[in-house]
């Protein structure tokens, strides 16, 4: 293979490598947001919650969202409307919570 052919091939491979984990994560976040039923209460876009006293989550800081999810799941946080959310949190693993909180941070508030 000549160098002129190799360079575009390598750059394409590099692009693929660089972009695929990111796009996979974004897609997973969007899918998880729906399949784990987050969208049911927080709205499809993360900013049209079902009830006026449910929080908007689009654009939320990832570390904060992650901590709240973990605490609601474990019961360390049990105030407010957490009883509603605790009922579904056994469906979500630590790894998925990370993907979800990263996804939320990418949404426009």
């Amino acid at each position: 293979m000549t160098q002129s052919k190799l360079i575009p091939l390598l750059s394409a491979a590099a692009l693929l490598l660089a972009s695929s984990p990111l796009s996979a994560m974004a897609a997973d976040g969007a899918t998880l947001y729906k399949t784990k039923t987050c969208s049911a209460c927080h709205g499809k876009d993360g900013k049209t919650p079902l009830m006026p006293n449910y929080p908007k989550v689009a654009g939320q800081n990832s570390a904060y969202a992650l901590q709240q999810m973990k605490d609601i799941k474990s019961g360390a946080r049990n105030n407010g409307q957490t009883a509603s959310m605790k009922g579904v949190m056994h469906l979500v693993t630590d790894e998925e919570m990370q993907v979800l909180s990263d996804y939320l941070a990418t949404l426009t508030p």
């Binding site: 039923t37 969208s39 209460c41 079902l50 509603s84």
Partner: protein, 237 residues
């Protein structure tokens, strides 16, 4: 205070006590009867169902691991009763509560529309089942427990009873039924039928698993099932 007044006060308290007790299982009248007497609009039923579909899925199949029950094929009277019970605070379900409120679901007409739509949805041919296949000792014991304790109300095939508000249980997910059964036995599900609480009070955990295993394996008549477990509801695409 005269005797007459005493008697009427006592009567009021007695009346309150009775109405509270009866409300736990079945409150007749009100929006339950109203919704069941209305002519449903199935097209509006699809629109109303969208809010339910976020958890119970567009097919109404719930989740196989049993967090969300299958609604497809459920008797409409049962659906109205449970929705009304949840929204009146008579069945504790904090996750579902806000969805059952009038501002989320709508009035009696909306209830009539959505339950008529759900009742006609084809059922999941691949519901969550218990671990004991037909022929095992546990399956057979579950079958016997079912015949002795459940068949009179829930029917030979777990088809339920519309008139009496007894749910269809055939094709329901194992884990969901197990959880509800345990809550009914242990008094945690407040809208349980007191006759059922009495009937199952001596069930051990193993009895409970065996009988629910059997119910999860009662075959659903083919005409009620979707053509495959990959069927997608064409009303939502």
């Amino acid at each position: 205070m005269n005797t007459k007044l005493h008697i009427s006060i006592a009567a009021i308290f007695l009346g309150l006590a009775f109405s509270t007790a009866s409300m736990a299982w079945l409150e007749k009248g009100g929006e339950r009867d109203e919704a069941l007497g209305l002519t449903p609009d199935l097209e509006n039923g699809v629109d109303v169902y969208e809010v339910c579909a976020a958890c119970h899925l567009t097919e109404g199949w719930g989740t196989k691991e049993g967090t969300f029950p299958q609604l497809a094929g459920q008797l409409k009277g049962v659906l109205v009763k449970q929705l009304a019970d949840i929204r009146e605070g008579n069945r504790d379900n904090p996750t579902m509560y806000p969805f059952a409120l009038p501002e989320s679901i709508g009035d009696a007409q909306a209830l009539a529309d959505v339950v008529a739509y759900i009742e006609k949805l084809p059922m999941n041919p691949d519901n969550g089942k218990g671990e004991w296949a037909a022929g095992t000792a546990e399956f057979e014991q579950g079958k016997k427990l079912y015949q002795d304790n459940c068949v009179k109300c829930h029917g030979e095939q777990g088809e339920g009873n519309l008139k009496e508000f007894y749910p269809l249980i055939q094709g329901q997910h194992y884990n969901y039924m197990l959880r509800q059964f345990e809550w009914i036995r242990d008094g945690k599900r407040r809208n349980a039928n007191p006759d059922m609480v009495e009937q199952i009070k001596s069930f051990t955990d193993k009895d409970m698993q065996m009988v629910i295993n059997y119910v999860s394996r009662i075959p659903v008549p083919k005409e009620k099932l979707a053509p495959s477990k990959d069927w997608l509801n064409p009303d939502f695409d």
